[in-house]
């Protein structure tokens, strides 16, 4: 389990992470979602002890990263797939990593085969495509057979076959009871691969929940245009409809079906010109959630 406890990180005047507080549990895939520059990578670097927090802490099984006795056996991480000396071969890169944590070289060959880059293991990493580098990064994360795994934007550069492979791979890791924490700026990817999702924007926590719950919250609205909007509004509210938006064009109504709205309008004697269900995609929910954070970061609305 990863625990983020009131974590704050400031770089000069920039507040990269602002009082984040959440847990990442074992046995499920947790997606860490936010627009580019929202603080995902910073949070991951702090979890890995690379950057020092300004306030708060990040712990793994109750310990700060620096206190782990066998780091590669406890945590596997892929931060930046291209962050490997380009002149070194994949095998030598992994051997150096393995040697530091007393992992036998036979394990290096195992993870190379597993990641599908065994046949190019002796090529220079500088000649690797981004997809091959991602696979090498995953091989490195698996070296110590750790119980906690962190992946920062792992699908970047992968082809469709690679993306499917990585989804199945995350699933099997979670099924084995490991903690799997995967960041992405793409909601569509997380909707397919994650169980739990944590959304942040501008370093602030926005929301957290299961993919199902977030999808449910994305049930959408019904757009209504009629003869008398004030009268329609009053009628809908008396039936506990939530009207999220009113303008000259019409009303956006949630918590009521289009059938219910049509009946309410009929009962109220308001002629309807348009009644259109608007099913928001998970992507749109995410855009809505993070729009504030992207455009007006300082307001820091915290929806739950």
């Amino acid at each position: 389990m990863i625990k983020i406890d009131h974590l704050t990180k400031r770089y000069g005047k920039t507040l990269a992470v602002d009082d984040l507080d959440f847990e990442v549990r074992p046995g499920v895939i947790t997606g860490f979602l936010g627009p580019n520059g929202s603080g995902k990578s910073t949070t991951m670097r702090i979890i890995l002890g690379l950057d020092h927090p300004t306030k708060g802490s990040a712990t793994i099984e109750g310990k700060r990263y620096g206190e782990l006795r066998d780091p590669l056996h406890e945590v596997g991480a892929l931060l930046d797939a291209k962050a490997i000396h380009p002149g070194r071969s994949a095998r030598n890169h992994l051997r150096a990593l393995a040697a530091s944590n007393r992992i036998p070289f036979s394990r290096v060959d195992e993870v190379l085969e597993f990641s599908g880059i065994g046949s190019v293991a002796d090529k220079k990493v500088g000649d690797y495509s981004l997809g091959m580098s991602q696979r090498l990064g995953i091989a490195g994360a698996l070296l110590g057979d750790p119980g906690v795994l962190l992946f920062d934007e792992p699908v970047n550069g992968l082809d469709p076959e690679g993306i499917r492979w990585i989804r199945e791979f995350f699933r099997s890791l979670a099924n084995e009871g490991r903690t799997v924490f995967v960041s992405s700026h793409l909601m569509s990817e997380m909707a397919l691969s994650a169980d739990q999702i944590i959304v942040i924007g501008r370093g602030k926590f926005i929301t957290q929940g299961s993919v199902d719950a977030l999808t449910a919250s994305a049930k959408g609205t019904v757009f209504v245009r009629g003869a008398n909007h004030p009268q329609l509004l009053a009628a809908l509210r008396s039936h506990h409809g939530v009207v999220s938006e009113v303008n000259d064009e019409g009303l956006s109504v949630s918590d009521l079906t289009s059938e219910q709205i049509g009946q309410i309008a009929f009962d109220a004697g308001v002629a309807l010109y348009e009644l259109t269900p608007q099913r928001a995609s998970l992507e749109e929910v995410y855009m809505d959630l993070t729009a504030d954070a992207v455009e007006y970061g300082s307001t820091g609305a915290r929806h739950e």
Partner: protein
Amino acid sequence: MSSDVTLGSTIRSEWIKFRTVRSTIMGVVITFVLTIGLGALITTAVRAHWPTMDPARQLTFDPVFASLSGILFAQFAVGVIGTLFITSEYSSGSIRTTLTAIPNRLELVWGKLVVLVASMFVVTEIACFITFLMGQAIFSGVVPTASLSNGAVLRTVILAGVYLTLLSVLGFSLGLILRQSAACISVFTSLLLILPIIAFLLPQSWQNDISKYEPSELGHAMISVTAQSNDFGSWTALVILSIYVAVVFSVGTTMLIRRDA
């Protein structure tokens, strides 16, 4: 449960990294070529011109220093090897992977230092002994020669390798502070080449007091069989240069520990 990550495993890991990149191999080859190749050129030239050389210069001629003079060029190669050992981790970003495997930054620095010092000491001593023996062989019969059976000569050849090893640690330490290869190599070169020029512009009386503290002048003192006027003795020079390197190394290590990676 005892930790799997120890100084021993760190050294093993860093040794794999050190020897599996071309920049190290090239650096070692260049160190050999400059030390031995230039030593051969210079000693051959001295032998050719010996009969016509000014007798006063013949009297003060130092066959040891002449045969080792290639290290004046090799010192930049070893500086680059030391620098790249750490700055290549920053330019590629692999420092983050390294630190997730070895979170104890002090242990990482010591591991790298052991690998660098041990390998550079072996490489530079081999280069210095080869160039010395080759130089004396070239001199023999025409130019006066020196022998390793003389304690002062043996000390000088050994200290030549020690000087180069210390400079590789200086390059490494600058790398810990500056993190960028180009910046490090500029500073390293300035310390060895520009500092003497600045001192040269000062009044003569100051020059004598200041120039003997320059890294390159300390190196000269370490590689001289007999003490030069206005210079420290070779052991004193070794101590002073070691203190410089230790200070820069300590600053670099502290910065590695304190800063975000």
